[in-house]
Amino acid sequence: MKIAAIVFLLSIIVCSNAYSSEHEVGQKNKAFSQKTLKVKVGDTVHFTNQDPFFHNVYSMSETTAFDLGSYAKGNSKSVKFEKQGEVVVQCAIHPFMKMKIKVE
C-alpha cells in the first residue's frame, strides 16, 4: 500500500515536470529581450546577462518576489514561477529595464 502511494506521488511529480517549460530572457543593450512573457505555473525562466557589464534582476511583485543579485556577462540565473499573477521584473542597477511576466 505504501509502495503504491509512493509510486502514485512520483508519477504526479514526473507528470508535472513533463508539463513545465523553460524560458530564456536575455539582458542585452540594457533591455530585456522580451517586454512581456506568458508562462505557466511551474515554468522556469532563465535570465542571462549578455551585456559586458553587470545586471541585477529582481522583482518585488506580490506573487513572486526575488533578487538574483548582480552577475556579469555570460552568467544566467533562474526563477521558477509557482504562483499565478503578473510579475514585474526590473534591473536594480538600470531601473529603466523592465518587463512583465504573466504567470497563468
Binding site: K30, F53, P95
Partner: protein
C-alpha cells in the same frame, strides 16, 4: 465602371464650385503645416522665465537658477546645496547640462521624468517651499506670464503640469554637445592632444581604469545606480540613496551615474561633493574608497601610475 467614376469626381467638383470658391475653400479647410519649432521656442521662453523667477519660492529668495546657476555650469559650486533660510541640504546640486539625455532624475532616481523633476524642488519645504495653489497664485500675480502661457499653450490657464512642461523644455536646451572631445570625434585632429587621446584609451579600458564600466557611451553614463564607496552608511544620518526607492542591499548608498560632458566645469564631484577636483575623483577610485559594503560590482581595483592618472584627467578635461 470604376474608371469612369474616378474621372467624374474632379469634373463634378469643378462644376459645383467655381475657381474663386475653391481657392477660398483650400484656404479655409486645408490643414496648415505644424510648426513644432515655434511651439518649442515659446515653451522654452516660458520655461526660462519660470526657471529664473525667485518668486517661485516661499520667501521670494530662490529660483531654480539659484542652485542651477549658469555661472557655475548650471550647478552651484558647493559641496552641498544651500536651501531656504541657508539650510545646508544633504546632497550636492547636480548640473543640468545634458539632462535632456537622462532617463532617470535626481541623484536617487526618485523622479520618472524631467517634467516631474522640475516641480520637486519648488514643492520641497527646504528648497523653494511652495505648494501647488501658491505656485499658481504667484505666477498669476505676474501679468507677464499670461501672454507667455497663451503663446506656449494657446490658453492662458496656469496649471502646475504646464509649469513642469515649460521648465523641462527649457532645461533640455542646456547641452554640451561640442566639447573638444566631440570635435575630435568629428574629425578635428587638433582638438585633442596625444596625451589626452592616451587618456581616452585608459578611460576605455574596463580592466585598467574601469571608468567605462559605468560611464558608457554616448553620454558617459549608464543611467544606472552604483555605490562607489564615497561615504560610510553607518548612523541615522547616513544617506542610503537609491535604497529608499529600491530596497535591495546592492542599492544601499547607490547614486546615479552622472554624465561627464561638462564635468570639468561642475566641481565639486560625487553626490556629497566630497571631491574637489577631477584628480581627487580618480584618487578616490584608486585608493579612497571608504565604504566596503554593498559596493557596485562594476568597481574594480585600479592601480594607475602617476603618469596614467595624469593622462586620464587630461582626457576628462576635454569634456568641456
Amino acid at each position: 465602371m470604376y474608371l469612369s467614376l474616378a474621372c467624374m469626381s474632379p469634373c463634378l467638383a469643378e462644376s459645383l464650385f467655381e475657381k474663386g470658391e475653391m481657392d477660398l475653400l483650400k484656404q479655409q479647410w486645408l490643414l496648415p503645416e505644424l510648426s513644432y519649432r515655434e511651439r518649442h521656442q515659446q515653451l522654452v521662453a516660458l520655461g526660462k522665465k519660470l526657471f529664473f523667477d525667485s518668486n517661485l519660492s516661499i520667501d521670494s529668495s530662490t529660483s531654480c537658477a539659484t542652485c542651477h546657476d549658469p555661472k557655475y555650469a548650471w550647478s552651484d559650486g558647493q559641496a552641498k546645496a544651500i536651501g531656504l533660510r541657508n539650510k545646508t541640504l544633504k546632497r550636492a546640486t547636480p548640473s543640468i547640462i545634458n539632462t535632456a539625455y537622462s532617463l532617470t532624475f535626481m541623484w536617487d532616481g526618485r523622479s520618472p521624468s524631467l517634467e516631474h523633476q522640475a516641480l520637486l524642488p519648488i514643492f520641497n519645504p527646504d528648497e523653494m517651499g511652495l505648494n501647488a495653489d501658491l505656485l499658481v497664485k504667484r505666477i498669476e500675480q505676474n501679468p507677464d506670464y499670461a501672454k507667455l502661457f497663451d503663446a506656449a499653450f494657446d490658453n492662458d490657464a496656469i496649471t502646475i503640469n504646464k509649469v513642469g512642461l515649460a521648465i523641462a523644455e527649457f532645461e533640455r536646451t542646456i547641452t554640451a554637445r561640442n566639447t573638444r572631445f566631440d570635435r575630435w570625434l568629428k574629425g578635428d585632429s587638433e582638438a585633442m592632444t596625444v596625451t589626452e587621446r592616451e587618456g581616452f584609451k585608459i578611460f576605455l579600458d574596463g580592466q585598467k581604469s574601469g571608468c567605462i564600466n559605468c560611464h558608457n557611451p554616448p553620454n558617459f553614463t549608464d543611467h544606472g545606480f552604483h555605490n562607489v564607496g564615497v561615504a560610510t552608511l553607518e548612523g541615522q544620518s547616513a544617506d542610503l540613496g537609491r535604497f529608499n526607492q529600491t530596497p535591495l542591499n546592492i542599492m544601499k548608498g547607490a547614486f546615479k551615474t552622472p554624465s561627464l560632458r561638462g564635468a570639468p566645469l561642475t566641481a565639486p564631484y560625487f553626490h556629497d561633493g566630497s571631491a574637489n577636483t577631477l584628480e581627487e575623483v580618480v584618487d578616490h577610485y584608486q585608493d579612497g574608497i571608504i565604504a566596503k559594503d554593498n559596493l557596485s560590482p562594476s568597481l574594480i581595483n585600479i592601480a594607475l601610475s602617476k603618469e596614467d592618472k595624469s593622462k586620464l584627467v587630461s582626457f576628462l578635461k576635454t569634456l568641456q
